[in-house]
């Protein structure tokens, strides 16, 4: 198989897309946002419950491709316990790094999100990876 393709569809990514975590709604979320990629019709709704300034849990509903699904699944796990400000800043740097061919993703070595690194070789798919993170930022700015 094409080596870029192998790098794109890493096992971690496939695992998350087949069996995403935290899929579903949060009733009465403190924050939520629904974003659509007009190019392809992918759609994701992100829900956040907070305690004080911290994200207690994040869940999502989506009709989307494997990359978007895996990215959203990892996101919900990754942002738990962060403050809204921290997660917003993290989402911003991450989205930025996806769009810079030569900037490695700002992640520690063992971060699962490394599984998304492969999209950089597929420019038409970068938005699939960043859409959940854009939804997160949008949700944070939408207080319910």
């Amino acid at each position: 198989m094409n080596s870029d393709l192998k790098a794109l569809y890493r096992d971690t990514l496939l695992k998350h897309s087949r069996d995403p975590r935290n899929r579903g709604e949060i009733e009465d979320p403190d924050h939520s946002a629904c974003l659509k990629n007009p190019l392809c019709g992918d759609q994701i709704t992100l829900y956040i419950a907070t305690r004080g300034d911290r994200i207690e849990s994040a869940r999502f509903e989506a009709q989307c491709c494997s990359i978007c699904m895996a990215s959203a699944s990892m996101l919900t796990f990754r942002v738990e316990g962060m403050t809204l400000g921290e997660s917003d800043a993290f989402a911003a740097t991450l989205a930025e790094a996806f769009n810079q061919a030569n900037t490695p993703l700002p992640l520690l070595e063992n971060d699962e999100l490394h599984a998304l690194e492969g999209v950089k070789s597929f420019p038409s798919r970068i938005r699939c990876a960043t859409l959940p993170w854009e939804a997160l930022r949008e949700a944070i700015s939408n207080k319910q």
């Binding site: 198989m1 094409n2 393709l5 496939l14 392809c40 019709g41 989307c64 494997s66």
Partner: protein, 415 residues
């Protein structure tokens, strides 16, 4: 009886078709290209590329102005293209052909110049669930401006238009009926003859979106006798940025200008301007001259092969594609219309349309994945996207076989 899924024979006059398209010689990701995204845009044959190059090398000048030789030659070539297109579509007269940027602009032109001035609050515009956004959004915008209502005729689960429902929605307040001839998203061929006949009986002007039909079948305007018909050249081997609106001369005569500017006026003073007759009235400014010249060359190219030959072969090829895909493991067709042309849409159990598109791309196979500018139609099928393979005269049964083999790789990776 032929075998199930037996591949069609490529007719003699199409055996060398691929060679005429230089881009089909390139490789994609190290593989020979299999181009199955023709509904989005077709490739261009050498005679079209040569005609454009010849125009810029030898004849380039502005048209309809200037007495010098280059301008005269360019004007003649551009106007000859209009005549050629009128004959290709069998219009009554070449003044019924308005050059535009394509299907989208043609529909917007009808909305602005024909319908808006006569539309009252509560009037209705009728379309179908199969429409491309280009035949939805201009009408929605117009409804917002005027208080008119958009009515949408449903389809059946197999992707066929519910013709009875369409006809019964043609009411006393219907001021325009719009219908796509062939669905770009799922390949349904609509029975436009029946619909046009009914519209005429009820005196309802009708617009046909022929963006996906003029390249695959003979469209005979005098036989059809619709009021308007639109298409885009780039889906028919022509350059981007050129297309046409056909309008019955009696309709065009009554229409107000679209854009204002040079070339569309009879006489200008600061107090009052009078406008030219159709089609010039609707063609403000310097047009896409090279586009018109490429358009004429593409028509010559198609006619040299023969539209009947193309239609016959493509019908077999798209049926072969639909049959093979239907039998492929994990594949579900979206839309199994009674009459299909050009395109077949599908989804897979194992993978989303984008993932299918990416994996096929690494195999050199270009398909389209997404909503195909038909979001309401996708919604009707309860999905957000499909993978779509769409053919042109240069595609072969081997291209379809490569697609099916590519889908096996998708199952391998995601299954």
């Amino acid at each position: 009886m032929s075998e199930p899924h037996s591949p069609p024979q490529v007719p003699e006059s199409l055996k060398k078709a691929r060679d005429a398209f230089p881009i089909l010689k390139r490789t994609v990701n190290g593989k020979p290209i299999v181009y199955l995204d023709n509904a989005a845009s077709t490739q261009k044959p050498q005679p079209v590329i040569d005609a454009i190059s010849h125009y810029y090398s030898h004849e380039n000048a502005n048209i309809h102005r200037g007495v010098h030789l280059l301008s005269t030659e360019a004007t003649a070539a551009y106007e000859a293209a209009r005549g050629k297109l009128a004959r290709y579509l069998n219009a009554n007269d070449e003044s019924e052909i308005v050059f535009t940027r394509g299907a989208t602009e043609s529909i917007n032109l009808v909305a602005h110049s024909f319908l808006e001035p006569i539309l009252q609050p509560g009037d209705e515009i009728l379309i179908s669930c199969l429409e491309h956004h280009a035949n939805i959004v201009p009408w929605q915008l117009l409804c917002e401006r005027t208080g008119a209502q958009l009515k949408v005729a449903p389809i059946f689960d197999n992707g066929d238009l519910d013709v009875d429902a369409y006809l019964s929605l043609m009411g006393p307040r219907t001021k325009l009926a719009g219908l796509v001839h062939v669905s770009n998203a799922i390949g349904t061929v609509n029975p436009i003859e029946v619909i046009i006949e009914a519209a005429k009986a009820k005196d309802i002007p009708i617009l046909i979106d022929a963006a996906q039909s003029v390249q695959h079948m003979t469209v005979n305007l005098q036989a059809l006798d619709c009021d308007f018909l639109v298409f885009s050249g780039h889906k028919m081997f022509m350059p981007t940025g050129i297309g046409a609106l056909y309008g019955k001369r009696s309709r065009l005569d009554q229409m107000r200008p679209y854009q204002g500017g040079g070339d569309m006026i009879a006489h200008v003073t600061f107090d009052k301007t009078t406008f030219k007759k159709p089609p010039s009235r609707f063609e403000a400014g310097t047009p896409h001259i090279a586009g018109g010249i490429g358009l004429a060359a593409a028509i010559d190219y198609i006619e040299a092969i023969g539209r009947d030959v193309i239609h016959e072969y493509e019908s077999q090829l798209i049926t072969y594609a639909a049959d093979r895909l239907k039998a492929a493991p994990g594949v579900r067709l979206i839309g199994e219309p009674t009459n299909r042309s050009g395109a077949v849409s599908f989804v897979m159990e194992s993978a989303h349309a984008h993932d299918i598109g990416t994996i096929l791309d690494t195999e050199g196979i270009a398909i389209r994945s997404g909503h195909h500018c038909c979001e309401p139609l996708m919604g009707r099928f309860g999905i957000s996207a499909t993978a779509r393979a769409s053919i042109a005269l240069y595609n072969t049964p081997e291209d379809i076989d490569a697609l099916v083999a590519g889908l096996a790789k998708v199952n391998q990776l995601f299954g």
